[in-house]
């Protein structure tokens, strides 16, 4: 090992300026952190070239893209520690080519995401956001005057992607009397829910879909017009995965034309842009990618990232490495 391993290890942090929850954890654990967003005068390229020759580890927050050019400016890069479950913002081909390891947040904030999925589902079918608006606007003057919602008990809920988050969602919905089934690349052993090998048959047999899978080339626009038509006019889709899982333009048309009933979305194709046609719809609940945004989750995310950084610099085994093949 080189002598530089005796100095506090250098970590390059690539994050939006406002998203600073990890900084204190990094300094508390004796990492020397360089921040790409402090390169206000230089371009990112110049910053990287002058500071980053020996950087072995990058911490990625807030889904700021890490494209091939970024990676190529870090000749010593060996690991990208993502402070999120999603890693679709990292150029996976370049990482694969360079042998760069990627770790993600694993199950650090799964509970909060699952909670939000359930919250969005109930809010959509029981019209919670819409009726709260109705009451606050002073319009409630006649009793029992608002359109009714729909029952959750005995409804069929199809989960797309039964990973750690999908499983947490399923567990939460069980006591509501929902009948759970799922679609995944492969059936999961020892799981009490019915398996569907493709999303179209899942949509055909279910009332509601909850999207919990990661965004890959295969899952891009996995919810397309055909899936929505199959789900039907009483169908509801909840998306807490990635915006790219749904063909957003088609989804807007399907909502406006009553092809499906409603949606609850925490993610969008081009955040923070949200199709304005959704703003006028009552059967829609919109959330600003907030599923993991609680103090507990940010703390857990930081702990996982720090643990992986420590393990990396000590040549110890890592947690939650992402399979790139």
């Amino acid at each position: 090992m080189e002598e530089s391993s005796l100095l506090p290890p250098v970590v390059l942090v690539h994050r939006p300026p406002a998203l600073d929850f990890i900084d204190e954890h990094l300094s508390r654990h004796s990492f020397t952190a360089l921040y790409t967003h402090t390169s206000l005068e230089d371009s990112l390229q110049d910053f990287l070239s002058s500071h980053a020759a020996s950087v072995r580890a990058v911490v990625s927050l807030g889904r700021l893209p890490i494209p091939a050019e970024f990676i190529s400016n870090l000749p010593s890069l060996e690991i990208v520690v993502c402070a999120s479950v999603g890693f679709d913002h990292v150029d996976l081909d370049e990482c694969r080519r360079r042998g760069v390891v990627i770790t993600n947040a694993g199950d650090a904030y799964g509970e909060d995401v699952a909670d939000l999925a359930v919250g969005l589902l109930i809010s959509v079918i029981r019209r919670i956001a819409a009726v709260d608006r109705y009451v606050r606007s002073g319009q409630w003057t006649r009793l029992w005057d608002y359109p009714l919602g729909f029952k959750l008990n005995r409804k069929k809920v199809g989960i797309v992607g039964l990973g750690s988050i999908g499983s947490l969602v399923a567990k939460r919905l069980e006591p509501f009397g929902c009948i759970i089934s799922y679609n995944s690349r492969n059936p999961k052993p020892d799981v009490p829910y019915a398996y569907y090998s493709n999303i179209l048959s899942l949509a055909a047999d279910n009332d509601f879909l909850i999207l919990c899978c990661s965004l890959t080339d295969e899952t891009h626009h996995i919810v397309n017009r055909e899936v929505m038509e199959t789900l039907g006019k009483n169908g509801v889709i909840i998306n807490i995965g990635r915006g790219g899982l749904i063909d957003e333009k088609e989804m807007v048309k399907c909502l406006v034309n009553g092809v499906i009933w409603g949606v609850g979305l925490d993610v969008f194709e081009n955040e923070p842009e949200v199709p304005e046609e959704l703003f006028g719809l009552e059967n829609v609940v919109l959330s600003p990618h907030a599923a993991g945004m609680t103090a507990e989750s940010l703390n857990n995310i930081s702990e996982v990232a720090i643990a992986n950084l420590k393990a990396f610099f000590a040549d110890q085994p890592l947690m939650f490495t992402v399979q790139l093949d």
Partner: protein
């Protein structure tokens, strides 16, 4: 049975109205401008009253209807019916238990999530375009928080079962300890409030439970805990609640019911730590239809001499 007068107290459900109209002589109380004249005219033909959570059958109405045999409520709550007088006069009373348990429990959890995770705020934030200027702030985690339930009846139990799936420890208060229940019992509502992050009102409204959530209870909850009311408005001292919220002494409140519906204290409209719903606990198409079927079923049973489906008195 077409000659049997059934007095419906207020608009509550068009499916119910149609089904009653098909079978009985349905009299719509709210359509007459002169209520006392209306009752005078029809008093001898009205043999049944159909009420709900807002208007039932009080002592005055019962005394004005000498031929009244049955009150069938389109609700599970009976606080709008003078049960004492019904018992004395041998008037039967029915309600709609069980069919609405799940919907009310679902809504209770929906309210907890909407409140703690600021779902209504988030929705407004996106719709107003503010997300383009910056991320929303941090909200409060639900999973693992302690839930204290006032009243462990059908609805309270259903809420507990759902909250358990979120790994919430469950506490409760009720008049007596429930044997064979794995949840932690507290002998007073103040103790329950002290030891719970989320306090849910799920008991029936009676003289004993009026204002069961008072200033003391709200102080015991404090600025880090929240109140969820899916019971009846009068369970909570509403004036004290408004003060506690506007003064920051209570962490938040999600309310489906109010003391004088449809009136909601306007001081609450601007608060981001409240969720306000217009009494929609049982408000799904499926459940209101099931409730309607029970009302009609009970009346049909009574007038054909069969056993009532869901008698209370």
């Amino acid at each position: 049975m077409e000659s049997i007068g059934v007095l419906m107290m207020c608009p509550m459900n068009s499916y119910l109205e149609n089904e009653l109209q098909k079978r009985f002589n349905l009299l719509r109380y709210w359509t007459s401008p002169e209520k006392s004249v209306f009752l005078e005219t029809h008093r001898n033909s009205i043999r049944a009253v159909v009420g709900n959570a807002f208007v039932g059958a009080d002592a005055q109405l019962i005394n004005d209807l000498p031929k009244l045999e049955i009150v069938s409520s389109f609700s599970v709550g009976l606080d709008k019916i003078d049960l004492g007088i019904c018992k004395d006069k041998g008037i039967r009373v029915t309600n709609t238990p069980d069919v609405l348990t799940e919907d009310v429990a679902d809504l209770a959890i929906g309210l907890i999530l909407a409140l703690l995770r600021r779902l209504c705020e988030c929705d407004r934030y996106v719709r107003s375009g503010k997300w383009k200027q910056g991320d929303f702030k941090l909200t409060t985690k639900f999973s693992g928080k302690s839930v204290g339930i006032i009243g462990l009846g059908r609805i309270g139990t259903a809420i507990a079962k759902r909250a358990e799936a979120f790994s919430c420890p469950i506490n409760y208060y009720s008049r007596t300890v429930k044997p064979d229940v794995a949840y932690k019992y507290y002998p007073t509502v103040v103790d329950l409030a002290k030891n719970s992050d989320i306090l849910v009102v799920a008991c029936p409204l009676s003289d004993e439970t009026r204002h069961i959530v008072n200033r003391q209870v709200m102080d015991a909850l404090g600025p880090k805990s929240v109140l969820i009311n899916i019971g009846r408005g009068p369970h909570v001292d509403e004036q004290e609640l408004v003060k506690a919220l506007t003064e920051g002494r209570l962490g938040g409140a999600a309310l489906d019911v109010f003391e004088k519906e449809p009136h909601v204290p306007e001081e609450l409209f601007g608060l981001e730590n409240v969720v306000l719903l217009p009494h929609v606990g049982s408000g799904t198409v499926e459940t209101r239809n099931a409730m309607a079927d029970l009302v009609v079923g009970n009346l049909e049973a009574h007038f054909s001499g069969k056993s009532l489906l869901t008698p209370v008195v």
